[in-house]
Subunit: 348 residues, 2 copies
């Protein structure tokens, strides 16, 4: 990813080799600041308060969080419990903790520190590879769409770009690939209230020179009715083995509009975002975040204190509205069979 012209990752091992450096996403796009996270508590706070966000990046970050906890001499169970409690919806978080636990549990306390940093680095490197593979598979879809419309107009919701991963992104990876290949692309960027992650998407697209337009979350349906959207690509915080896609609140509304207007609707789903333990998305825990995220915009109280606020952070798009799941192994139908074909080793 390109930050002010320099190639970086969204999370990097710091020079001291016992802490990590992350882009502070709570400050973007207004300020570009790197945070150094050097304690378990700092990692947990950064995830909970969304200085670090995006399901794949959360996975890599908590993996490093376990490693940092080992460096601090904190017990593995304590570390995993504290990190596990930060956010409930993204399955990558549990996936990464399970993996760290599986690797570290057999080891002696003395061997855990180095093994933990090595495993976290593997998770981070693998995330880059998964995202790049998703980019390649998704690029083919954009390439096909380009036979009918140029530029290919892609609508996305929230931020599933490189900021949400270690690099490349999930939903945006195909767009970066297509843009690099010279396929003309234009991205409709949903603002994504209440936290406006669309502005993160706009910012990273601008860093790479990808043409885009920011719209209110209300506008996408109308644009699809007008024939101005060729395909939708979104990320996911958890996709079930049956193909239901849990993603940022409002995704479901865009999927309904895409279905109603025969616009293909894809979710970019790296396998660590698949919850093989559940079939039906309606059982996914949906995080309710603080009212102030709705009440305040850019530090100003927009909703008066006389009015209560509700703030569910995710919704579930049922598989029947999803054209396909772009995984690192190819594009799957959003069904149990579709995923099983690509991931036969997953027996449930």
């Amino acid at each position: 990813m390109k930050v002010e012209g320099e190639w970086r990752r969204a999370i990097e091992l710091a020079a001291d080799r016992s802490s990590v450096t992350v882009l502070d996403q709570a400050r973007l796009p207004y300020a570009i600041e790197w945070l150094n996270l050097d304690t378990l508590a700092a990692v947990a706070r950064a995830v909970k308060d969304m200085h670090v966000r995006g399901a794949p990046l959360i996975g890599a970050t908590v993996a490093y969080g376990v490693a940092i906890a080992m460096h601090e001499g904190i017990a593995l169970d304590t570390a995993c419990a504290q990190l596990s409690a930060t956010r409930p919806t993204a399955i990558n978080l549990q996936w990464a903790l399970d993996r760290m636990r599986r690797v570290l549990t057999p080891l002696s306390a003395g061997a855990r520190r180095d093994a933990a940093f090595a495993e976290a680095a593997r998770i981070a490197d693998e995330d880059v590879a998964l995202c790049e593979a998703i980019g390649a598979h998704g690029e083919a879809l954009i390439h096909t769409a380009a036979e009918r419309a140029r530029p290919v107009r892609v609508l996305t919701h929230c931020n599933a770009g490189w900021l949400a991963t270690v690099d490349w992104g999930t939903a945006l990876a195909p767009i970066y690939k297509a843009h690099e290949r010279g396929i003309p692309v234009h991205v409709w960027v949903d603002e994504t209230r209440p936290r406006n992650q669309g502005l993160l998407t706009a910012w990273e697209l601008a860093q790479h020179g990808v043409p885009h337009t920011v719209i209110a979350d209300n506008a996408g349906g109308h644009l699809m009715q007008q024939g101005l959207v060729d395909l939708c690509i979104v990320g996911t915080d958890r996709t079930t083995r049956g193909g239901d896609v849990c993603n940022k609140i409002g995704t479901y509304l865009k999927a309904l509009a895409a279905f109603d207007n025969k616009v293909p609707f894809y979710a970019a789903v790296p396998s660590p975002s698949i919850d093989w333990s559940i079939e039906d998305g309606s059982t996914i825990p949906i995080e309710e975040r603080g009212a102030d995220e709705v009440r305040f915009v850019a530090g100003r109280e927009v909703v008066p204190a006389t009015s209560p606020v509700a703030n569910p952070a995710f919704d579930v798009t049922p598989r029947r509205l999803v054209t396909g799941l772009i995984t690192e192994r190819g594009v799957a139908a959003a069904t149990a069979d579709g995923l099983r074909v690509l991931f036969p080793e997953q027996r449930t």
Copy 2:
């Protein structure tokens, strides 16, 4: 309507009987300020810049605008042309100008001033009566819903309350009626980006003590999936004779979600909001408003200047998604036949 405990209308003839006083909706809910509009130019500016907004209130305001123009000695055609150019989507604007023109054209220049103020007052009084009748018909729907759920949870988008009319409101009139009758109601209030008219709705509901919760525009679909919405009621800026409902951008997305979750979806439609000249809503002109409405929130630049913005202000909900149209004569099916039954005098 109750403003700080005092009963008022959203537009009132001023004491000088040659100007009008309106609540400045560009300042609400942060400040309660009344604007005096005493020239045609001031009226046109107030409508264009949305100090006055809401299709029915726009109708009454431009009617008074014609009267004020007559008081200024401005030609009828000039006045109508200037007011007509302010906003393209709400049909009430053209309806009110047509009506003023029909009444005033046969009269001598000397007789027009008093006739114009009288006709504008009739339009305003009639609007109150239309809205109150919509309230009564809509209240019956809430009453029925109360047999299954208490409180009745109504989702609304934008502001179609008394602020958007001369009094009572359209979509909110049934809610006020039900609340007065002691039927427990709770209103989910869509924030309604980019202009946040949901905060006007929240403010007026708070003035009347009606329980409500503000949500991001992204949240409504999820709430419907969770069974937390009993019905949706929205207003309209123009409904076709075929029953297609043009309303604030984002309405279509909520109608899709309501349909998908079997939640009844009603539009409150006073007859001056019906465009009898067209059948198909896709031909309605959709206003594209300025980028700064998206770019700035509460005076702060939220979308960086490096990213372009699009801002369509309305969308069209096709009749197939609309359970019914609450008119002043009763609830009509959202079809040409449904409206013809209630308005047989309209031959098209």
